[in-house]
């Protein structure tokens, strides 16, 4: 039960969370539709069901803050304010894409929005996120770096190297483990020595053990706010483990058949962050008309962006030869 007499979040923040999560949900659904229409090629890793995590950080971060995410990063990119056509256009390999088709679904990058890249090799970006955090400390500026990753990442060496370094240097960084219970196709518990793959490792790096319901947008919001504040105040890194569940398989190629039907049903029907948050908004006496207007607005935004992406030209073949080097070219000899 929620206590509506003691509202620490407030209507405007709740509506911002609502709009953000809806955007992430509807764009991912649109991406899935566009796959089925063969307008998106390659692979894609959807974050359907995990929207509260990226969403809560998205509404909590400031301009100038840095975020790093994984190949399951469409939502995290959108959460920083990147345009929908920039994301869908990149997935479709169009000129309007964030990187004009040179990166693709797994490498969404939008530096102007603080999206410092989506990383497709497990663990690498934890070490790189330390670098932007180190730069903030070096320059004595107040940006916060946030690094999102999955439960599978907690078993690779770079995770441990990065946490240790972040702590010894007291870096302004928040590590966010989205534990969706499956390391690609394998239950994370089958391949991990501890019950909570991130949180149970926190003590090894002198960090607090933080576990949060990653499907409860309010809880995620509170957790994000406090970890970001800690980093911005110069009090060092945090490691958050957010429990969640992906609605679809690991990637486009995976129907997710290895998961028990009952488990999937429970998460889809009882623990969906968006369905539950709509109920929460009503419990806080927010006018249903406002809720619906936001729904209609976001739906329209996604449809408009889809049309822009479809109409956008494919990249010029000359793009192949650009931007290997800072001079814009690719020449390796005189």
């Amino acid at each position: 039960m929620v206590d509506i007499t003691n509202d620490d979040i407030g209507e405007s923040n709740r509506l911002a969370l609502w709009e953000m999560m809806l955007k992430l949900r509807l764009v991912e659904k649109k991406a899935y539709d566009l796959f089925l229409q063969n307008l998106i090629k390659g692979t894609s890793h959807l974050a359907l069901g995990q929207e509260a995590i990226a969403g809560a950080f998205g509404v909590s971060l400031q301009e100038g803050d840095y975020t790093f995410c994984t190949y399951r990063g469409h939502a995290h990119t959108l959460a920083r304010g990147s345009s929908i056509e920039g994301v869908l256009g990149e997935l479709m390999g169009r000129q309007c894409g964030l990187m004009k088709g040179k990166g693709g679904s797994m490498h969404l990058t939008d530096v102007d929005k603080g999206v410092m890249g989506s990383y497709a090799i497990i663990g690498a970006h934890l070490t790189i996120a330390n670098g932007t955090a180190l730069a903030s400390k070096y320059n004595k500026t107040k940006e916060v770096s946030v690094c999102f990753f999955g439960d599978g990442t907690t078993n690779i060496g770079a995770f441990h190297e990065a946490l240790n370094m972040a702590q010894i240097w007291k870096l302004p960084i928040v590590f966010v483990c989205e534990n969706n219970l499956y390391m690609e196709y394998t239950p994370i518990g089958d391949v991990t020595a501890v019950e909570n793959p991130a949180a149970d490792r926190a003590s090894a790096y002198n960090m607090e053990k933080i576990i949060v319901d990653g499907n409860d947008a309010d809880e995620m919001y509170r957790t994000a706010q406090s970890a970001i504040k800690k980093a911005r105040d110069g009090d060092g890194p945090s490691l958050i483990e957010a429990k969640t569940y992906r609605h679809s398989g690991h990637s486009r190629a995976d129907p997710g058949k290895y998961r028990p039907d009952e488990e999937v049903k429970d998460w889809m029907e009882n623990k969906d962050p968006i369905t539950n948050y709509r109920k929460r908004l009503l419990e806080f006496n927010i006018d249903e008309k406002i809720i619906s207007e936001i729904e209609d607005k976001v739906k329209q935004q996604v449809e408009d962006a889809t049309e822009i992406s479809k109409a956008s030209p494919i990249p010029d073949v000359k793009e192949i030869f650009t931007d290997v080097w800072a001079d814009g070219g690719y020449k390796w000899h005189n």
Partner: protein, 327 residues
């Protein structure tokens, strides 16, 4: 005039960069308080303090990841990987992340950083602390590859590497750290992609890098004195960018070419050079390009084994005589 060792040039070149630009910092294992395991970074901590000279844990991925992220945020890191062999434990950060992020981001992200590393044999350290790995990085689009052969070149090339807007791997040769050079000035700048003729000659061109360039020069002196053979020695200095024009003009003049490489045979850097020579200088060639490399074996440790694995001055002299005399 100043006499400097290669190792002193390393620390001086870093200090020069850090004095000029407050965005430059230096990070690595045992680099600060200890002054580096090869004593190539002595004095930097005292001059610049802990905020700019950072000792790290043994975490090569975290070192290069932090350097990459800092570069993405506008700083200009110099990171040390103690032995080039250890590049293997952070190769993802180099080959997948540092090299490709500019391209994949459509040029949104610049990564101006220098990775310094002690490379090469001669110290009898065995197969995991002695490799010459320039060719590993040469084959990855997005990486610049530098391997200086002298104290002056260390100064001049480091200056260019630190100021370059792209990632540079800077291979320092362990067996050259003690070598000395008289320098008229220590304020040097050598553009990346400019080869250097270490010895003039018209009978054959010997192409080398780092220690092998210096051995080729010694061989050329001996060939001239004792065998009346005039060998031109071309020190490439950098593999990427590559000074193809200097290679072409040298080969077109001499008609014979030999590469001297410290790496095992397969896919060594000389294979690419040989291919380019064939492609661009075929009509001027008097014979096939010869590649001197180590045999295709890991580097052994014992004196006699290592000495007979890496191309020596004697071997270069012998092979050049065979080639020039058509034997």
């Amino acid at each position: 005039m100043a006499q400097l060792t290669y190792r002193e040039s390393v620390s001086l070149s870093i200090a020069q960069a850090m004095r000029k630009d407050p965005k430059v910092f230096f990070i690595g294992e045992d680099v600060g308080a200890a002054g580096g395991v090869f004593k190539a970074t002595v004095g930097l901590l005292d001059e610049f303090g802990k905020d700019r000279v950072m000792d790290t844990p043994i975490s090569e991925q975290a070192i290069l990841g932090a350097a990459m992220g800092a570069a993405m945020a506008g700083l200009r890191p110099i990171a040390e990987i103690m032995f080039s062999d250890f590049l293997a434990v952070c190769w993802d950060i180099i080959a997948n992340q540092i090299a490709k992020t500019r391209y994949m981001s459509d040029g949104q992200i610049n990564i101006p950083l220098v990775i310094r590393t002690a490379n090469g044999g001669g110290s009898k350290f065995g197969a995991q602390h002695s490799q010459s790995l320039e060719n590993w990085s040469m084959m990855i689009p997005g990486l610049k590859v530098v391997a200086p052969s002298s104290p002056g070149d260390v100064l001049g090339l480091m200056n260019s590497a630190v100021n370059d807007p792209d990632p540079v791997i800077f291979y320092e040769h362990k067996s050259l750290y003690a070598s000395k050079e008289e320098l008229e000035s220590t304020e040097l700048s050598i553009p990346l992609g400019q080869a250097n003729i270490l010895h003039e000659g018209s009978d054959i061109t010997i192409i080398g890098l780092a220690l092998m360039a210096q051995r080729a020069k010694k061989a050329a002196l001996e060939l001239k004195e004792k065998h009346n053979i005039n060998a031109k020695v071309l020190d490439l200095r950098t593999l990427v960018p590559l000074d193809l024009q200097s290679i072409k003009s040298a080969i077109n003049e001499t008609g014979l070419a030999m590469t001297v490489e410290e790496n095992p045979r397969l896919c060594g850097w000389g294979a690419e050079i040989s291919s380019l020579i064939t492609e661009h200088c075929f009509s001027n060639l008097k014979g096939p390009v010869t590649r001197l490399t180590t045999p295709h074996v890991p580097l052994p440790s014992a004196d006699i084994l290592e000495d007979n694995t890496i191309p020596s001055v004697d071997v270069i002299v012998k092979e050049v005589i065979k080639k020039v005399k058509g034997e």
